[in-house]
Each structure stands twice: as C-alpha cells, then as structure tokens.
C-alpha cells in the first residue's frame, strides 16, 4: 500500500465500549447508584456500630420494649419484631444479597464458560452429548435442584473448601455462614446453563476462523487454544449474559428466602427481610417496604448498568 496514507488512530474494542458506556446516562446512573449502595453496605454496618453501637444480629436488651417501631430518629428504618434496628439489618442484608449476586454469577460463569467452550470446541458427538445433558438439566425445575443440593451438601456435609472460603471472606467460627456460601454455589450451579449454550454457540462459529488454525499451526495445546484464544473472544456475549445473571440470581435467592429455604437467621438478606416483613404488611408496612424497595433500587441500577454494557459492547443494538 501507499506510505502516504496517514495511520488511523486505533482504539481497542474495550476502550471504545467504555467510552460508549459513559455516554449512556442511565447506565452511568446505575453504576453510580451501585457504587453508593455497595459502599453503604460494606462500610455502613461498621460506621453504624462505631457511632451508635447498634448491630444487625444482636437482639438488644430492651428488644421487647422497642419491637416493631416505625421509623424514628433513632431507628431510621424502624425495628423488627425482636427489636433489632432495621437499618442495620438492611445494610447487613445488603452484604449477603450483593455477595449472592457476585459469587453465584462467578460460579455460573466459570462452570458455564468452561462447559460451553469445551463442548463447542470438541464438537461432534461429545458436543451433542454435552448439550443434551444441558437440555435435560434445563427441563428440571430449578427449585428441586437447589433443594437437593442444599440438603445433600448442607450441614455436616458441607465440603471443606466451602467452609474455608466462608471463613476467609466472612470470618471464622460460624457454621451458618458456610451454609450461605453453599447457597451461593447452589444458585450458581443452576444458572450456568444458558451461559454454556451462549458460549458454545460463539465457540462453534469462532473455531473455524483463521486465528485458531494459526494457533494450532504454532503448536498450542488444545487446552491452550480453548482457554487462551477462544474464550477471550467470547467475552462480549459472556459479559452481556453475566449482567443478566446477577439480578436473576439475586431474585432467586430472595425467592428462596421468602420460602424459608434461603438465608437463615441470624443472617439476613433483603429477600429474607422482605419475607419476614410480608407477614406484617398491614400493621408494620415498613418492615417490608424498606428491604423491598432497597432491593428494587439495587436491581433497577443493575439492570440499567446491564443494559448499558450490552449497548456498549454490541454496537449493532445501538439506538440510532
């Protein structure tokens, strides 16, 4: 070609996407909102304790006297049936709800992407069998699977690595916490199916492209091709799908807690708080409203952010 042609300034796909994301005001709003909520939820309980000595799980000595109080200057979101401060509980619950979103999505990502990439890459019979398995698991109501997982691996049977993980992240000595981590994994294990399908589809169309042949020709191992070459190219749809999974998983956890199967006392999640609050909707509506609306706000922000990420990563879907 001609040397006189001035080079066009190149930007990577990611920088382009980031720029587009920032231009989307709703998505930015969602992102900012999420950061604020995350800060509240992480630092909040500590600040609250430092300032007022209130914690989320301890039932205060005067619990009987102040139970089910409406919002007041001392208790911004009122108190629950045992006299605990709702604000503290909502903050604490937020930690668990957000962790559900993150950890379960990571689990579903890891399982789904690996499964899908391997199936897509190996193709043929193996792919067929693997996808039939996915179809079959898909046909079973997920509640069943979650309940089975929780009862099989619950309590004494909790795998030690889950216990280890819960202790590292959450502090030691608490068996209840390891059950919650078990819940995270169980939720992740029912959410990976569509991710696997998406990744497999992508890999199927990518694997015949030239860069794969080039990698093969230079002697990259199968494992290497799958994970170092193909997977990074599927990142777009994977991120899109992950953004759909986070709110979905949080809603599922809330649903399970509503049924009494999810987070157990003394821990709380927004779902379990809302479930507790439903009982008293007529008389103490704030017990449902605060956790419920906080959760709605978080999901709202997550959805906007997810939308924004999708638009930013896939220009075809852009508005104009």
């Amino acid at each position: 070609m001609d040397e006189n042609v001035t080079a066009i300034k190149g930007t990577s796909l990611w920088r382009d996407a980031w720029k587009r994301l920032l231009k989307n005001r709703l998505a930015v709003f969602g992102l900012v909102m999420l950061i604020i909520i995350a800060l509240f939820v992480i630092i909040g309980p500590l600040v609250l304790f430092w300032a007022t000595g209130i914690t989320a799980d301890e039932i205060p000595a005067n619990g009987d006297l102040i139970k089910s109080f409406p919002p007041s200057r001392l208790h911004w979101m009122g108190t629950d049936e045992a006299g605990r401060d709702q604000f503290a509980r909502v903050l604490q619950g937020g930690r668990i709800s957000l962790m559900v979103g993150i950890i379960s999505t990571i689990v579903s990502l890891v399982v789904g992407v690996s499964y899908g990439a391997i199936a897509g890459f190996l193709g043929g019979r193996i792919d067929n069998v693997m996808m039939r398995i996915v179809d079959m698991i898909y046909a079973i109501p997920y509640i069943l699977i979650v309940i089975v997982l929780l009862s099989v691996f619950g309590g004494q049977n909790t795998p030690s690595w889950i216990k280890y993980l819960s202790e590292t992240i959450g502090g030691s000595g608490n068996q209840g916490l390891s059950q919650i981590f078990l819940l995270f994994f169980a939720l992740g294990l029912v959410s990976w199916l569509t991710m696997a399908r998406v990744v497999r589809g992508q890999v199927l169309s990518l694997k015949n492209q030239e860069f794969v042949m080039a990698a093969r020709a230079t002697g990259v191992s199968t494992f290497g091709i799958i994970f170092r070459h193909l997977v990074p190219n599927t990142l777009g749809p994977v991120i899109v799908y992950a953004t759909l999974t986070v709110p979905s998983v949080m809603l599922t956890e809330a649903f399970l807690s509503y049924l009494g199967l999810g987070v157990q006392a003394p821990f709380a999640s927004w779902g379990s708080l809302a479930a507790d609050g439903v009982k008293n909707i007529a008389i103490f509506p704030w017990q449902l409203l605060f956790p419920g609306l906080t959760m709605a706000l978080t999901l709202f922000s997550l959805n906007f952010l997810g939308d924004g990420l999708r638009d930013a990563l896939d220009p075809q879907t852009r508005k104009f």
Binding site: M136, I143, L288
Partner: protein, 305 residues
Amino acid sequence: MLSFILRRLLIIVPMALLVVTLTWGLIRIAPGTFYSSEKKLPPAIEENIKKKYGLDKPWYQQYGLMMYNVVRLDFGDSLKYPGQTVNEIIWRHLPYSATIGLLAYVLALVFGLTFGIIAALKQNSLWDYGSMALAMLGLSVPNFVLGPILVLGFALGIYWFPPARWGTVANLVLPVITLSAIYAAYIARLTRAGMLEVMRSDYIRTARAKGLDEKTVLLKHALRGGIIPVVSFTGPALAALLAGTVVVERVFAIPGLGNIFIQSVLNRDEPLTLGIVAFLSILIMVFNLIVDISYGFLDPRIRYE
C-alpha cells in the same frame, strides 16, 4: 409440516419420561423422607411404613414399578395427603393457577406490546424513556414486594379490591396485576428491541420509498418481523405461568398448583412431585412446539419437512 408435528409430538413422551427419571433420581439422592420431620421414628414403625409404600424393595424395582405406573399416567396417591391421587390433586388446583396465569399473560401482552411499539416508534422521546423506565421497574420489583404493596395500597388503603382469596372477578385483579408485571416488562423490552431491529431493515426503507405512511409501514411491514422475539418468549413463559407461581399464590391465598409443588418438594412427597414435574415438562414441550409452528406461519422462509 404434518410429519414434523408428529415427530415432535412423539418425542415428547420419552423426553417427559427422561425428566421424570432424573427428578426421581434427584429426590432419591436427597436425604430426608416424607414421613420424618424432626422426630426420629422408632425403627419398627419405620419398617412398617417402608413396607407399606414399597420402599424396602431394591431401588431398581422401585424405579421400574414407578415408571410402569407413570406410563399409564398413574402417579399414585400423594404421600402427604393419603387418599387423594396425584392426578386428582393436580386437576383440582390447576384451574386456579391456569386462570390467573392466562389472564396475567394476556394483560402482559396488551401492555407490553403497546408500550414496546410506542417506544420503538418514538425512539428516544419521553414516551420511549418512560415506557422503558416503567418496564425496568417491572423487572426490578420482586413480586413478593409488589403484591403486598398493591394490597396495601388498593385493598387496605383504598378499598377497591379484596386483598386475597378467590371468588369474584374483583378477587382476580390484584393477583393478576402482580403476576403480569414482570412479563409485561420483558415483553415491552423484547418488542421494542425487535421493532427497532426491523425498522432499520432495507425493506422498511423500500416501503417508505413507495410512499406508504408510517402507520402502514409499521403495522403491515414491520410488525410481522418485530414480534418474533415475543413469540419465542411466549412458549416457555406461558407454560411456567400455567403451572403456577408460588409467591402470588401465597400472598393472595390462592390454591394454585405452584404452592402445591413447592410443598411437595419440601415434604418429599415423591409421587406428587413426579406428577407435577411430568405435567410441567409436557406442557413446556407442547408450548414450544406451538411456538415453532407459529414461526412457520409468521416467517415464510421457514419451512418444515
């Protein structure tokens, strides 16, 4: 086309049986039995129970017996409600969830399609942002929050509708609205995306170049292609709705199938669980088939042999 339908129908039965098998396997793996809650029963009594229900036989015999019955559509009696067959229970509770489910979906279609089309037509206008914000709310407020809020507002606050139970049309309003919210939201978003995609097509440009007005362009040319995502969505969504939604049933004290299902799982009521799972999977497969057939009518490029 006919042979296609027949082949699909034929495959439904073995698939359902497969799902039943998997479910059976899952239930058996899970610890816990239907007859023990917290107390441990004395061994003698436990033996008796096991004998009565054939649980002392080897597992493959139990499986064989179960499958033999299932194929004859005999799911047996519920373990938790002795004296009632599974089929009776399902048929008794199905009308409640089906009514609410169907009404909810129709409502969701009406609102979702309307707002989705408006949003696509007046893209980036207030109508667009408003509709999508509303849809976002529908997606973000969990139904166990929305339901009670509606009850609080419209039943207890202003006494427009009764807060719960079954009976008159008025009883249906709040549960149907609660149930339809999230579906309306999905449909609105899918419609908008589908319509926008189609409106960008070359053939829409041709239609305009012929001098057709926007309404004709939209309704005659764009709609057919634009609603395909909604059609895909409808199959599984409707099937799940008919089978019941636990939350709405609990909040509004409606004796639907969803609650029955959850209870059966928690109670380890194996026959009932298997019966409902079989029913649900057949329902899903039939609905998927209907959706696929509609593709054939909507998109002339698709031809089934």
